[in-house]
Symmetry: C2
Subunit: 355 residues, 2 copies
């Protein structure tokens, strides 16, 4: 096990840990004593029907959603019981760098989106006795998990809001993710996954960050000097002073575990590859919420899936930041998100389904 | 000097060589005995006013434009004298791998778009005695050179058609190009530019190709299985069987020389950074021709520049292939290009300027 303070309680907590015991994986193998790290906001009501589940995105933790939650917000902890769950492999939940043998580091098994959602289901049913979810909402890989929730547990999920992500990963995204992975694995310091410190992989993580700089933002972000939205003066300070150190603080194997999972996100695994049939299973009211400048989850890819979901609407979020709009540094980003989520949460789902 | 058969007369010729002697570079230093490789199509008329100049794109050679030229085409050799000129560093003209000391390999100097255009100007004035150019047209880095021609020699260039490129490179493009360069230089086999064979850099060139797979095509290309336009059955055959071998056959230092040049393409160097003033110098009738799915020379970036050019029009080319639309594998690509170029060539420029 490797010490990496980025993932500490001090840095990304406070979080709780739920131990699921030995957890069988879809691709074979088990994670012994699978630990899910999660945070809760608000109180579970007596009817246990005020639950919002929020899964995390690539490279992110439950900490990233703090800015989405507040008493004047759609995700209102005075009204809802909000559970933010760190995906497997994200560095906080069970992950290569924090797991003991036999699954430490390079021996960490392949994990799929379906594994996450089954594990999250165990957490909320076993630990909290929850049988109904008012809303599942998440960005990027959080959207992948949101779709998986809605397809796998259609009677349980009443509403779903996948933001900036797809139900079935695209070929283009698979190739993009490959370049992110290759940036890491091409660093001799990565050493087949058995480095002694993430600092050994600093060069690879820097290249990883540089590819994010190209694909994670938008051409318009750079034209309009969008880094100033981060309070940063120059593009060099944005890439070298912000993005590179950000990714260099993360665990390389954790990023690889998530990237492998991201590449293979696909709800049509439930229906022998038939995406229409899989999305047709969804009973939730769904707001599909792409970001208008997203370079790898473009609106039209999200819209194509939205059209296959029976009770759904397309709600485009405008953000200069492209995919990184998810960070919410623009003043009107959360206004849009909250308006859409408030509208969705106000819908009486029984009626909506009958429409 | 390194043997690389990709750049041979057999593979990309037949081409002619013009020796410019010692050539001073904008960034300092000289290329001794600078050799420009070029091809001509058609015959220079007596008035010497039927000239079309075509500069090459990144990783490309004069060979790539053969499919743009023909007797039933806009670039008609029965009517025009078409000179296709290989840019400096492209592996055919003077380049790191084919130059002797003191500029061999890692010692090859930095070259700018302005150097190319000055060298091309010498070629066509000294060798052919040409004083007027009916049209400069080129794709991508060829567009950068086209803009440089129109700004640097405004009285000489009557018409210009930059396809899928910009007059001033964008910040986003600079960062994208950096990832392409880092893919090569991170390969230990590159050895600071002093490899003994381009095969030593096969891994880096493969990663370089994989980044092209993400940015060079379009999300829609992959959704619509556009590789079938190349007569290729699967995406794996497209990336591993086509793109990777394509880039692995090229010279790494050549790609780096071109990438450095591409990053810094900027006609506003003539006007102390004032792009509006630089583009305002253009006297040519200009058709700005972006590709609608281009991920790094997006239409809106090209349009922003077009609006600064006095006598210009925006002519968008539709192509599923994104930037690689330039390869012209779609049946209607050349129809669009030829229609636009025919329209442009038919314009009486004296009249047009007086409009």
């Amino acid at each position: 096990m490797i010490q990496n303070d980025f993932y500490s309680q001090e840095n990304v907590g406070p979080f709780e840990i739920y131990n699921l015991g030995d957890f069988e994986l879809e691709d074979g193998g088990i994670i012994p004593d699978l630990k899910l790290a999660y945070t809760t906001h608000g109180t579970l009501n007596e009817a246990k029907d005020n639950v919002i589940v929020v899964p995390t995105w690539f490279s992110g933790t439950s900490k990233n959603y703090e800015s989405y939650i507040g008493k004047d917000r759609a995700l209102n902890p005075e009204k809802y019981f909000i559970i933010v769950i760190n995906q497997i492999g994200n560095g906080v939940s069970s992950s290569p760098h924090n797991s003991p043998e036999p699954i430490a580091m390079a021996n960490f098994p392949n994990v799929r989106i379906g594994d996450d959602v089954r594990a999250q289901h165990k957490l909320i049913t076993e630990k909290f006795g929850i049988e109904e979810i008012a809303l599942v909402v998440g960005g990027s890989m959080g959207a992948q998990q949101t779709y998986e929730w809605a397809v796998r547990y259609p009677d349980m999920v009443k509403r779903a809001a996948p933001i900036a992500g797809t139900a079935k990963n695209t070929v283009h995204d698979f190739l993009f993710t490959k370049t992110l992975m290759d940036a890491i694995t091409s660093d001799p310091g990565w050493n087949g996954g058995n480095y002694s410190s993430h600092f050994d992989v600093a060069d690879g993580l820097k290249r990883h960050a540089d590819i994010w700089a190209v694909m994670g933002l938008s051409t318009e972000f750079y034209k309009q000097e969008g880094w100033k939205l981060f309070g940063i003066e120059t593009v060099e300070q944005f890439t070298e002073g912000f993005l590179q150190p950000l990714f260099q603080s993360l665990d390389p194997n954790s990023l690889l575990t998530m990237a492998w999972k991201w590449q293979r996100g696909d709800v049509s695994r439930h229906t022998n590859g038939n995406l229409e049939e899989a999305l047709g299973r969804i009973k939730a009211k769904v707001f599909v919420m792409p970001l208008n400048e997203d370079m790898f989850f473009p609106v039209r890819d999200c819209e194509a899936e939205q059209k296959l979901i029976p009770n759904s609407e397309l709600k485009v979020i405008n953000s200069l930041l492209g995919h990184f709009g998810l960070f919410g540094v623009e003043p009107d980003y959360f206004t849009q998100v909250d308006n859409y989520l408030n509208e969705l949460l106000a819908i009486n789902v029984a009626e909506a389904v009958a429409e």
